[in-house]
């Protein structure tokens, strides 16, 4: 079951890509765990997660073709 991860800002530098196709691990929390295991520097960053263009703070179940975006804060002006 493939899902797409999209990264913005500095998170792109950490992951080395602006998007990744991965197999869904089931829920958002499990996804965070495997992504951070692979890219440990993410653990030190702030970000908010959006599932299919909507912010979520709950541990929702990810389903096929979902798009999970990782948005960090920007400070520049």
């Amino acid at each position: 079951m493939k899902i797409e991860l999209i990264f913005f800002g500095q998170l792109t530098d950490i992951v080395g890509a602006s998007s990744l196709m991965v197999d869904s691990p089931g829920t958002i929390e499990e996804l965070k765990k495997i992504v951070i295991e692979k890219y440990p520097a993410l653990a030190t960053m702030q970000y908010t997660i959006a599932v299919n263009n909507k912010i979520t703070f709950d541990n929702v179940v990810i389903t096929e073709n979902d798009t999970i975006a990782w948005m960090p804060p920007f400070s520049g002006g």
Partner: protein, 362 residues
């Protein structure tokens, strides 16, 4: 009279705009905080569009490194206060509008005194301390906030604190805690493509005009992300954050006493080995190296938690005084910064295991 004005004819002739929308702009009072990369195009377009009263705030002077993106300023303005140069440029552009100048860094007391005089606040600043201060003030004083921020080739635009379907989102719903300055690179550290704040600033000005005139669908409870390299836009719907505690000040007194600048500074206490030895029994030693990195620590009681898994152990480290160690003192600093967001008395051991070996402590 606005009806007689030739100046705005190209927009008053628009279907859905007309002299009614122009009259709303003429009545509107907009405060733009920051007269830099974002502020320049915002100010220019708002003045050109005929916003009746524009306030602008900035304590900075024009420098050469500003000129590639801060298009209100020229070489002859180097060393001049930005707001003074900007005010004269805007006056030359449109002398039918009123311009107020605040030649100071924005503060809590300025927010409390002057936010009530404006209908819309625009965040065009370049640092988190100001952004959180402005956000919190807009929540407390109940003012719409048009937010914009940039990073290298990317930007964000959003409208906060405007009720839609009975919900008003603010910046802390997205990012509850003030990020530390070193967690997120600023323009001076990471760079920024000159046109980028131009694009984002113009988007902010567009949202201000939409908000005031009621045309179109403003980015209320949404954040737009723009990438100049791919011209891609990503819009996400924002929701109220009820699962995490929001730590914004609930009253004016707490707001006035909040030190936003130090909230965004990481006070990572790097501790030298000689200073650590006398107090080492009071601190939990946490090795954040990978489990196969040598030499291992044998002579000292410690926990082994690789940096990448530290986030999984936050609860067990709560309220404990900790000194992090790694091979050379770099990862331990990151670990300390990560914990410093929520916990107290966290140190990073300078020099790391390498220096412990040299000093024969391992």
């Amino acid at each position: 009279m606005i009806e007689q004005s030739e100046r705005y004819q190209r927009q008053t002739m628009l279907d859905g705009f007309g002299i009614e929308a122009q009259a709303k702009l003429a009545q509107a009072r907009v405060l733009v905080i920051g007269a830099g990369g974002l502020g320049c195009p915002i100010l220019q377009y708002l003045a050109a569009a005929g916003i009746g009263h524009i306030g602008m705030a900035d304590d900075d002077k024009v420098s050469y490194s500003n000129l590639h993106r801060q298009i209100l300023y020229g070489q002859e303005d180097i060393g001049q206060y930005k707001v003074l140069v900007a005010a004269s440029k805007l006056h030359a552009l449109n002398n039918e509008i009123r311009i107020s100048v605040y030649q100071q860094r924005w503060s809590q007391s300025l927010a409390i005194e002057f936010f009530p005089e404006y209908d819309v606040i625009v965040d065009a600043t370049d640092n988190f301390a100001s952004r959180y201060l402005i956000n919190d003030a807009c929540v407390l004083i109940n003012k719409p906030l048009v937010f914009g921020a940039v990073s290298k080739y990317e930007g964000q635009v959003a409208i906060f604190n405007v009720k839609q379907n009975d919900v008003a989102i603010n910046y802390r719903d997205l990012f509850p805690n003030t990020p530390k300055n070193e967690e997120v690179l600023s323009c001076s550290e990471a760079g920024v493509l000159g046109v980028l704040p131009g694009i984002i600033g113009v988007m902010q000005a567009t949202e201000v005009i939409k908000l005031i005139t009621g045309i179109g669908k403003p980015l209320i409870n949404q954040m737009l992300h723009y990438n100049a390299l791919t011209h891609s836009m990503y819009v996400m719907d924002l929701i109220k954050n009820t699962t995490r505690p929001l730590n914004f000040p609930l009253d004016f007194e707490t707001f006035l006493n909040t030190d936003y600048t130090s909230l965004c500074e990481t006070a990572i206490h790097e501790i030298a080995i000689d200073d650590w030895i006398p107090i080492k029994d009071n601190l939990i030693l946490v090795d954040v190296r990978e489990l196969d990195e040598l030499p291992r620590i044998h002579a000292l009681a410690h926990l082994s938690i690789p940096l990448g898994t530290l986030h999984l152990h936050l609860d067990s480290l709560q309220n404990k005084d900790i000194v992090f160690v790694c091979q050379t003192g770099i990862r331990s600093k990151k670990a300390a910064a990560l914990l410093k967001i929520t916990y107290q008395k966290v140190y990073s051991l300078s020099g790391g295991v390498k220096e412990l070996v040299q000093k024969n402590i391992l």
